[in-house]
Amino acid sequence: MKEKRDLKIQAIENGTVIDHITAGQALNVLRILGISSAFRETISFVMNAPGARGKKDVVKIEGKELSVEELNRIALLSPKATINIIRDFEVVQKNDVVLPSYVEGVVRCTNSNCISNSSEPIKSKFSVLQSDEEGVSLHCLYCEHVISEEIAEYLL
């Protein structure tokens, strides 16, 4: 059974494996990392893969070690994701994502009257808060609007 599951996604030689992504969020993870069709390295991913803790997505990025800052953005969408840095087929570093306290140029403010949605030469800026009651929320540093639901819909 294990052998079959491994066939779904090839091991990588060097790069980054993002595991335990909330099921269905893999494409949004690529967006939040700014990975588009212009990205030239090999990327493979599975969505809705069965795991010990229920379904999950996995993304493997060949030939690129992403920065901690980049990776922590994933926590906005998938707070339980884990990051594995691979060198020569070995996991040399394994970390949980950590919610960043601040994100810039990642999410669009939901307030259409916010200056960050105008043609001014600025990027959106949010402080990131987490509470037991409301989960993750983004607070626009320009207009103070708060995004607390469906953050993925507002990714830039």
Binding site: N111, N113, C114, I115, S116, S118, S119, E120, P121, I122, C140, L141, Y142, C143, E144, H145, V146
Partner: protein, 308 residues
Amino acid sequence: MSFKNRNVISMKDFSREEIDYVLDTAEKLEPVARGEERSRLLDGKIISLLFFEPSTRTRLSFEVAARRLGGQVLNLGSVEASSVMKGENLADTIRVISKYADLIVLRHPLDGSARMAAEFATVPVINGGDGSVHHPTQTFLDLYTIRRESHLEGLKIAMAGDLKYGRTVHSLCHALSLYGAEMVFVSPPELRMPPEIVRDLRKQKIRVKETDSLEDIIGDIDVLYMTRVQRERFPDPDEYERVKNSLRVTGDLLKAADPDLKILHPLPRVNEISPEVDETPHARYFEQAFYGVPIRMALLALAMGVIE
């Protein structure tokens, strides 16, 4: 405590101690604001008033504040005649005006524009109102009025009218929470205070009550802060007609009020305060408008470092 080169963007940027310091400074400058004393504190300083939307009251009070302190005022003029109409963005306008003036007062229709302006300016920026979010100098003058005409400690205040959209009351709630004020929100159901604000206040252990009746609470408050129900906020004109007179301060209503009750209003009013109230000792809204001058004098002088 130094405010030199400090921007004034949002009340949330100020601690209670800092607010008290601004109010104390305004009180010292009040004789100058009334024209009873002369001051040259801003001699040689140029204050640029960048008003991208009309607000005669705010603009004039800043202009008076600057002139009373001996400063010079640079007006943008009409937006139609400015470089904005040529397509210049606000960031570039701010960069350029920073080279001409010692301080910028900005009024702009977009939310967060003052925060952005402060990023590009090399001189202090005072927010004269941006979009529907911030109007910190209004809140400073509201606090000053309450302190001068009533008391901030142990205050029981009712805010009435359009509490849903009124930015002055939102900002005032936050500031008064720093003083532990007890608050009553009086509005028609359609215009209630946003629940997140009520929730935040309760989290801070502030006593908050909501009602739709002025009669029920008029005898139990120190300050009544009235606001205008704004016609432009209603998509349905009939609904506006239905609620526009639902909260009205009249001579009859005030018979049940505490003799020391003070009534404030950010103005302009429409018909939420009956003219007969103007002659009573309760009416303090015109004095409130005057207090905008010493408050703006204090903020100009502190931000430019001529008072420390």
